[in-house]
């Protein structure tokens, strides 16, 4: 099949974080299955084959009023992408849903091809709960147009499906397609000695976390867990990889608790270096929290699948899809969400029990290889589109 992949958010070049991992993983999965694709993107993406990328950037005119730039991007994208897509003759459009963007519904109609909308959550919900909503009426209308026009809506979890069904989207056209991992890149026994040496981790038990420090990642819970963990395991060290808006808060908590010597904040690292950094850890952490409005966490954390692939012991909260994938005492230890003392106790238990770490890690790796891979993720979408074309 020939696939046109549209990325339309206003973030410029991305090379880290869950959204990038998801995009690259899906495209790699398509490639492994022998499909062709062209990415039309609002910003640069570090794809291996640059010929498969066409960048159509946002206009520089609309930069001083909130949200107008995203609305204006629709016309620009339609005008510039249409000739490219007419040449490409894709079998379907795959659009990563983004705020105020309705261009893919116009393009799909003009090209008369199916539209697959990858939706990782209602943008109206995201703006209301994690940001600030301006021009809500237009935001909602754009989302409604997209949901109505999409032939298939691919979501990462049952939580997102439930959210969209509540918003009126036909549940029959929603495909629940969890994120995945490249089990060849994220694997056990990666030589991480240089990372351990560089970061002075030798002789320590290292508990790792990677993420963009979003509100849902529970990084504040993680920061609060450092002190009680150090009290239980004096040679513990936390390797916190990533960058984000909550970094200042994390630094403040760590300093207030006087545990700076037990924490390394690496900042962002290149995605290609992630396996080596995760390999330097003895156990991995995913203390996600439920949504702030009381609804169930609806994400499908890419880090979780990468942790599984690494074959390391995991401590995670069982919120949302995480609870479907991880089973306490089988392939992870589950903690009570938002409970930093419980997190500390679980970390201490693993730190003091290498045999348990090994057993949980082996089970995690098995799940990654047998059940979750980007190839399977892409395959589920392609099969669903084939089904659409048959009906």
């Amino acid at each position: 099949m020939n696939v046109a992949f549209l990325r339309t958010d206003f973030y410029g070049h991305i090379s880290v974080g869950g959204s990038f991992t998801h995009t690259r993983g899906f495209l790699d999965g398509l490639e492994q299955l022998g499909h062709e694709y062209l990415v039309i993107s609002s910003g640069d993406l570090p794809l291996r084959d640059r010929r498969r990328l066409q960048v159509i950037p946002y206009s520089t005119l609309y930069r001083n009023l909130p949200e107008v730039l995203s609305i204006a991007y629709n016309r620009r994208l339609i005008r510039r992408a249409l000739p490219l897509l007419r040449d490409l003759k894709p079998d379907f459009l795959y659009h990563r849903h983004s705020e105020f963007n309705y261009a893919s519904s116009v393009l799909a109609r003009r090209l008369d091809v199916p539209l697959v909308l990858e939706c990782n959550g209602s943008e109206v919900w995201v703006k209301k709960n994690w940001g600030k909503v301006y021009l809500e009426r237009i935001l909602q209308m754009a989302e409604d147009v997209q949901f109505a026009a999409a032939d298939l809506v691919a979501v990462v979890s049952d939580g997102v499906k439930d959210q969209l069904v509540r918003l009126g989207v036909d549940g029959n056209k929603i495909l629940v397609n969890p994120n995945g991992v490249d089990p060849e890149r994220f694997r056990p026994n990666i030589d991480s000695s240089s990372v351990r040496t560089k970061l002075h981790l030798d002789g320590k038990v290292v508990a790792g976390f990677i993420g963009t420090f979003g509100a849902w990642h529970g990084v504040d819970v993680l920061a609060r867990a450092v002190r009680p963990t150090v009290d239980r395991v004096p040679n513990i060290h936390f390797l916190i990889i990533g960058e984000g808006t909550l970094r200042g808060e994390i630094e403040r908590i760590i300093a207030a608790d006087g545990v700076e010597a037990h924490v390394t904040l690496t900042g962002s690292i290149p995605h290609d270096a992630v396996p080596e950094y995760l390999g330097a850890c003895d156990l991995l952490l995913s203390p996600h929290v439920q949504n702030s409005d009381g609804t169930v966490f609806f994400g499908s954390p890419t880090k979780l699948f990468e942790y599984l692939g690494m074959g390391k012991a995991i401590v995670a909260s069982g919120v949302g899809q995480i609870g479907d994938i991880l089973h306490d005492g089988v392939n992870a230890l589950l903690m009570k969400q938002r409970d930093h003392v419980d997190l500390a106790e679980k970390i201490a238990r693993l730190a003091n029990d290498p045999a348990l770490r090994e057993r949980l890690g082996a089970a995690a790796r098995r799940d990654a290889v047998e059940t979750f891979s980007w190839r399977m993720n892409a395959s589920r979408v392609v099969e669903a589109v084939k089904q659409l074309k048959r009906t």
Partner: protein, 144 residues
């Protein structure tokens, strides 16, 4: 005024320490006072102007992750209009830097902003009507 005279950098996005080091280098070694602020907080004019108006400071500025993608630059320049200090900048982590210029603000930035306002009005109206028509013509989800 000595090189040690503080400068104020309001960090809207990006890594504060990288921005501090970058700007301190450009200022020739000034101590930089960092104020962390969410980008959306640019509407809090009184707070921002208070932070920027430090008596005796050498410079004031805004820091961000990537200048090319930084929104609200006209608004930021308007705040810099009120800032104390001889040097006023908007800069990013890579070292890209725009120095505030009163002449440019009035001759280029302000007319551009008026043009943006007018064009934005057209964009919003067009988008609203387009979406209304599309929702009227096609089926729509029933948000309850």
């Amino acid at each position: 005024m000595t090189p040690e005279t503080p400068a104020t950098l309001i960090v809207l996005s990006g890594h504060a320490e990288t921005l501090r080091a970058t700007w301190a280098g450009q200022l020739g070694g000034s101590a930089v006072r960092i104020v962390l602020m969410d980008e959306k907080a640019v509407v809090r004019a009184r707070t921002i102007i208070r932070e920027l108006r430090v008596p005796g400071q050498r410079a004031a500025g805004f820091g961000c992750k990537q200048l090319e993608l930084q929104r609200y630059q006209f608004v930021l320049n308007t705040y810099l209009l009120f800032a104390t200090g001889r040097r006023k900048h908007i800069l990013d982590e890579t070292g890209s830097c725009v120095e505030f210029s009163l002449l440019r603000y009035f001759v280029r930035d302000f007319p551009s902003f008026l043009l943006e306002l007018a064009a934005s009005g057209v964009i919003l109206l067009t988008a609203y009507l387009t979406l209304r028509v599309r929702l009227f013509a096609g089926s729509r989800p029933d948000r309850t």
